[in-house]
């Protein structure tokens, strides 16, 4: 009984460790601010990234025909060009802080996902 238990336990453990390892290998994404991103722009080409920043006012362009959303993301210093082949999420608007997920290739960031922060209350009106 005990021997079987140990062997069974080991098998479960190996399977679980494998699942952990393979899951983490495929899906870890660096969480960066726009500034951190520009500081290490060479290392992060083509890697999975999540970048946090504010949408530059006036930079949002929506091409309805091709379902292409482009905008710029900033942290007050530099601006990053973002393309998203899809629709804007609810509450997406100028000045809003968002998290984008995707890869940086050839001068633009291709966002597969745009996550808007969803505060439980209204943002106060900006003067």
């Amino acid at each position: 009984m005990n021997k079987k238990l140990v062997i069974g336990g080991l098998i479960i453990l190996i399977v679980v460790i494998y699942l952990f390892w393979s899951g983490m290998k495929d899906s870890s994404a660096y969480f960066l601010t726009v500034e951190e991103f520009f500081n290490q722009i060479d290392q992060v080409q083509g890697r999975g990234l999540r970048i946090n920043g504010d949408i530059v006012p006036g930079s949002i362009k929506w091409d309805a025909k091709n379902i292409m959303l482009t905008f710029q993301l900033t942290d007050g210093k530099k601006a990053l060009n973002v393309r998203h082949n899809g629709i804007a999420p609810d509450t997406f608007q100028e000045g809003l802080s968002v998290v984008i997920e995707g890869k940086y290739e050839n001068g633009t960031f291709n966002a597969t996902q745009i996550m808007t922060k969803c505060p439980s209350k209204y943002e106060a009106k900006k003067e």
Binding site: L19, F31, P89, S120
Partner: protein
């Protein structure tokens, strides 16, 4: 300071008194002090109730001199959402939490008033201690009654929260979270008294089941809210806030299984105690994650200093629990071991282990950004892929255990018996899998999941059929009479099976919506059409209308199935007016559900040239997720009613 705040202070003093009277009553063995403590429990409930009613009243009367009211409502907010705004923000939701704590305690003292339960005075005293902490938090760190210079209007409630699911989702979730406090009280009481027989489990069982079903419903309502309100067609995104409410559900679910083992088998004593304490800790960790800002999430509350206080609470609970467990270790250890693999004992143990593995995996994934920040200064997030990779195989294995569990009996099951019970169901599920394969289901994980699902249902049906035919033979009864009889005789067992069937339904929905989802994004001019699956959608017109606090833009699409017109869909965009805040918009999806699939349309944007952009989806089997939730709820209600009836019967037979 507002009057409601004074009421909370009185409640705080009352809780402190209850704590003192309760502890002294236990130590000095004085019944009169314990009696005073019970009055204290009732008074806490009364004062906190008055306080939360005052907050609701402030919302209804639009008293914008209270900061919290001004931040979460405005003059135009509809009545029902004005009430739900009471628990929409951090301060109010914590007050709501305290209120539920006092409700549970008062209810507990009331229901058990005639019971001779040796744990009772421990339970309500420990419960009051927890209440004391949360009251302290609300009064000194998160006061919903904070005054400010009165404003002419408030900032309004976030439009995303103005949705029917959001009225019921938070209370249900909180009922679950807070509900696990009573089983936790019992676990500590059992440790303190040193009575570690199954008695504490028996007495807390119904409370546990109630908390579990509330948490289950709360999570499903949250999923439904995400599905209809967030406008991306999904219901679960492994966001830290979602995970936070899933974690205690996992340990809670493990617990509702393991608590059944202790009495008949004298096993899992230590396990049960630890599991309940862990569940309680995880409910607090959940509130900690959502309120501390330690992990960036899409819908956490703002950053606040509450994090530290919750850490302190968790630390205290852990220290006390570990000390008590060590103190009673010899008693906890005196238990039997699993003797045979082919036994219900072992399958329950395995279910528990798997749930804990899943817990660790999800906890790890959720906290990972915080760990990496601590170590390297950079947050590294684990995305959906990580969570799916781990939870899918584990989930399938859990479903397999669910399917085969009815064939095992306690202690030992002969393989002959297993073959007898499982042979035909096994053949049926193989047959089912082959049919699905022929019909074109080639996705291997789906095929396995669907086959196991059919096995689960078949094994249950086979068991019912066997006992039915035996009964009809032995008693020569009619079919219906026999059926009613056996269902009645083992109502708890069959209710548990019903819950399992509900779970199977949810698995079906997950397979359908994740593997067979169809989606397209398209911009249409008026009169143009698009096709998805068997559906053809024609964009006819765009209308506008004004409602109480929003302007609504409605697109009208005619829907044809093949060439038959089956109705129309009206996805909306709502623009919420607010005098104090920015205008915000939300999309309101339009869904056409049937048992086979949901046709789901989002109005993504509307251009000046009158073209409109739509996201059109087919989410197969989605409705089974909600049906499954309903079936699970019915199962738990049957068990709870049954327990109440039994209690009445034993009382009668005693009298």
């Amino acid at each position: 300071m507002a009057f409601g705040h004074y009421l909370l202070l009185i409640a705080l003093v009352t809780s402190a008194f209850t704590f003192w009277a309760g502890v002294s009553g236990i130590i000095l063995k004085r019944k009169d002090l314990s009696q005073y403590a019970k009055y204290g429990v009732y008074s806490q409930f009364i004062f906190v109730s008055l306080s939360i009613f005052l907050l609701a009243y402030a919302f209804i009367t639009r008293d914008f001199s209270i900061k919290y009211v001004a931040e979460y409502s405005d003059k135009q907010l509809p009545f029902l959402y004005t009430l739900s705004a009471v628990y929409a923000g951090q301060d109010g939701s914590l007050l709501f939490w305290v209120w539920l704590l006092t409700i549970y305690n008062a209810l507990y003292v009331f229901i058990t008033r005639k019971n001779s339960d040796e744990f009772k005075s421990y339970v309500f005293t420990i419960h009051s201690t927890v209440t004391l902490f949360f009251l302290f938090l609300v009064i000194f760190a998160s006061n919903p009654f904070e005054k400010q210079a009165s404003l002419s209007d408030g900032f309004g409630l976030n439009p995303l929260l103005q949705n029917p699911e959001m009225i019921f989702h938070p209370p249900s979730l909180f009922l679950g979270f807070v509900g696990f406090t009573i089983p936790f009280d019992y676990a500590l009481a059992a440790l303190m008294k040193g009575n570690l027989s199954a008695e504490w489990l028996d007495r807390s069982r119904n409370w546990t089941l109630f908390a579990w079903i509330a948490l289950t419903i709360g999570n499903l309502l949250g999923a439904q809210w995400a599905y209809v309100e967030l406008g991306w067609g999904g219901y679960w995104a492994w966001d830290p806030v979602e995970n936070a409410s899933l974690l205690p559900w996992l340990t809670g679910t493990a617990f509702v299984h393991s608590l059944m083992v202790q009495k008949p088998r004298n096993m899992m004593k230590a396990w049960n105690v630890i599991l309940v304490i862990l569940t309680f800790l995880l409910t607090i960790l959940g509130t900690f994650i959502t309120r501390s800002g330690i992990i960036s999430s899409v819908h956490a509350f703002g950053k606040s200093n509450l994090g530290t206080l919750f850490l302190i609470l968790m630390g205290i609970v852990m220290l006390v629990s570990v000390a008590l467990i060590l103190m009673r270790w010899s008693k906890l250890k005196s238990e039997k071991k699993v003797e045979f693999f082919l036994s219900r004992d072992f399958s329950f143990l395995l279910v528990n282990i798997i749930f804990i593995v899943l817990l660790i995996a999800i906890l790890w994934g959720t906290m990972y950004p915080a760990f990496t920040e601590l170590i390297s200064g950079k947050q590294i997030a684990l995305g959906e892929t990580y969570f799916n990779k781990i939870s899918v195989p584990i989930g399938i294995f859990l479903l397999f255990l669910l399917a085969i569990c009815p064939v095992f009996s306690w202690r030992q099951t002969t393989s002959k018996n297993i073959v007898k019970k499982a042979f035909y169901p096994f053949i049926i599920s193989i047959f089912f899998a082959v049919i699905l394969f022929v019909l074109g289901v080639r996705h291997i994980k789906s095929l396995v999941t669907l086959a196991i699902s059919s096995l689960a249902v078949a094994i249950i049906m086979a068991e019912i059929a066997t006992s039915l035919s035996n009964r009809m033979k032995d008693e020569s009864e009619a079919f219906v009479k026999s059926l009613i009889h056996i269902l009645n005789l083992n109502s708890r067992r069959y209710a548990a099976y019903l819950i399992h069937i509900g779970v199977v339904f949810i698995y079906l929905a997950i397979v359908g919506t994740t593997v067979y989802k169809q989606e397209k994004e398209i911009t249409l001019q008026k009169g143009e059409e698009t096709r998805i699956g068997n559906y053809r959608l024609v964009y006819n017109q765009m209308g506008e209308r004004q409602e109480q606090n929003r302007d609504v833009l409605v697109a009208e699409l005619e829907v044809f199935n093949n060439s038959k017109r089956i109705g129309s869909l009206t996805p909306q965009r709502n623009f919420y007016r607010s005098t104090m805040g920015n205008t915000q918009y939300t999309t309101e999806v339009s869904v056409r559900s049937n048992l086979k699939e949901d046709l789901y349309v989002i109005l993504a944007s509307y251009q000046e040239d009158e073209s409109a952009t739509f996201v059109v989806m087919i989410n197969p089997l989605q409705i089974w997720m909600w049906i499954g939730g309903g079936v699970i709820t019915v199962g738990v209600i049957i068990i709870l009613l049954n327990a109440v009836n039994k209690k009445k019967e034993t009382k009668k037979s005693k009298a």
